[in-house]
Amino acid sequence: MVEVQHVTKRYGSFTAVDDLSFAVEPGEILGFLGPNGAGKTTTMRILTGYLPATEGRARVAGFDVFDQPIEAKRRTGYLPETPPLYPEMTVGEYLQFVARINGVAAGDRTAQVGAAMARTSITDMAERYCGTLSKGYRQRVGLAQALLHNPDVLILDEPTAGLDPRQIIETRRLITELAGDHTIILSTHILPEVSQTCQRVVIINRGKVVAVDSPDNLTARLQGSQSLYLQVDSGGADPAPALREVAGVAAVSVADRRDGVSGFQLEMAPGCDVRRDVSRTVVTHGWGLLELRAQQMSLEDIFLQLTTEEAAEGPDGIARHDDPPDAAPGGGTYPIAAEEHTNG
């Protein structure tokens, strides 16, 4: 339904999107994930025909966004980062106007505007001026505007930004409901959003795709580097040498130690589950086994790992949790100008 082939977008010497390729199947929800300034908004603007790509092609519903922009735009609903509302219009008038410029037949307009308002629960707001709406309602009117003309493809730039928790849940439910009839691309930097709503994730960083997969597969793919946390009361002895001898344990490092109780970080070799052997070793040495748990990588870890890989290669390949991607070493050289460019 959506095909992006080798799309590159340059602003002068700065490359916002670099040779990006991906495809979205009909009825699928694709999550577009990346830190701020990664090129999410630029990519979406290229797909909606707002910006032309410097190189490469993009097709929406079978129409090239550059060669047949009117046809492509007719089949696309777009919610930009800031909902594009006219403050001097009421919500009802605004949606009527949007229906009209999207070519909805005069006889169907009222019905389709009504349906879009009902879906986004803004029917009570029809008489309010757009300029007086709260951020949450503005976002919902923006969403109503995007799905009003029943487009094949919905492109939503951070659809839950600025909403309160209850509205976020409602919006996610709405997006999930819309899938099937519509193909949806949504961008976000909120990770739970992706694992809850999307069937597939494209993670981009600095304009490049770093991973494309389902949220589950992404987690599974990186299970090879799974680690264990082990806490042992060894009464003064050092359990590390014994632990290293257990088959399947790749590395042992001390996580914490006090009063004879030691915490260890055990790296497992890919595909091995060493929990049984580790507990047996601890018990046969007569130590007290206080804690043993698998440390599974969350989508957050994967995201941080993938987006900071070149910048901060930690000892275990995983950036620390408290490191936001932007603050990571080398992340300082992040093209902050990217956001400003794409906002222009």
């Binding site: 006219y86 949007v98 410029i101």
Partner: protein, 254 residues
């Protein structure tokens, strides 16, 4: 066509929801009324023979309507930049330009919608003056011809002012910048032939041709010359073409 109409209506609504339309209409009516009263006074004095020539019949077109149209042109030079300054600038600032550019609309439709919206409000401003001119028919016997050609000239000249305003508004997010720059450019086109005398004859002829008010004179005399019609139409065409170029440029540069 339906899309252009939708955009034109949207533009008109924006003018009338904000104070802009009312401010323009009120002040235009006030200024035009003032010039009208002033020229009626001159007319009365002339016809009463207060200049030592004795009572006489005076051509109302020549002595009243023609100068009045000339003064109107000057009022427009000041007021029309305020009509067009928000046109693009405000949409770009608030992000609604993104809605228009990602909707199935061509640049041509967007430009025409904005141009016709501004032109419609300007037409309404001119419509107010029909009242004053109508009163002249009540008390005198002006000719229809020069009045008709005068209005045609005002419409063409105003259209040129609007097209310049749109082109300039499309280059900025700031309404004030758009308004001031439009006023400056229009003023320049008004006085462009003032340095003509000191320069060579060819330069003088070119500058005189470019002067935007110079071409209006014949219209107020009652002459519809294709030369002047062509000038204003190509001026409008150029303004709208530059607007289209600016929209395209914006797209490539982000």
């Amino acid at each position: 066509m339906g899309n252009i109409l939708a955009l034109t209506q949207k533009e008109l609504r924006a003018y009338f929801v904000s104070p802009i339309a009312y401010v323009l209409l009120v002040f235009f009516a006030l200024l035009f009324g003032w010039f009208y009263v002033a020229s009626v006074n001159v007319m009365v004095q002339l016809s009463m023979g207060q200049f030592g020539m004795g009572p006489q019949v005076i051509n109302i077109n020549e002595f009243m309507i023609r100068p009045l149209f000339g003064n109107t042109a000057v009022i427009l030079l000041f007021l029309l930049p305020m009509l067009t300054m928000r046109s693009y600038a405000e949409e770009k600032r608030s992000g609604t330009m993104e809605l228009l550019l990602t909707s199935p609309l061509s640049d041509f439709q967007i430009i025409m919608g904005k141009f016709l919206g501004a032109l419609a409000l300007y037409g309404l401003m001119l419509a107010i003056t029909l009242l004053h001119i109508g009163l002249l028919f009540w008390y005198g016997e002006p000719e229809w011809g020069p009045i008709f050609s005068g209005y045609l000239g005002l419409l063409l000249m105003g259209g040129s002012f609007i097209s310049v305003g749109l082109a300039i508004s499309s280059t900025t997010k700031n309404q004030i910048v758009a308004g001031v720059a439009t006023f400056a450019v229009l003023l320049l086109f008004w006085i462009i032939n003032w340095i003509g005398d000191a320069s060579g004859t060819t330069t003088q002829a070119v500058l005189a041709y470019l002067s935007i008010l110079e071409h209006f004179d014949d219209f107020s005399k009652g002459v519809i010359d294709t030369k002047h019609v062509t000038y204003y139409l190509s001026f409008i065409g150029l303004g709208l073409f530059l607007t289209a170029k600016s929209m395209d440029q914006e797209r490539w540069n982000g």
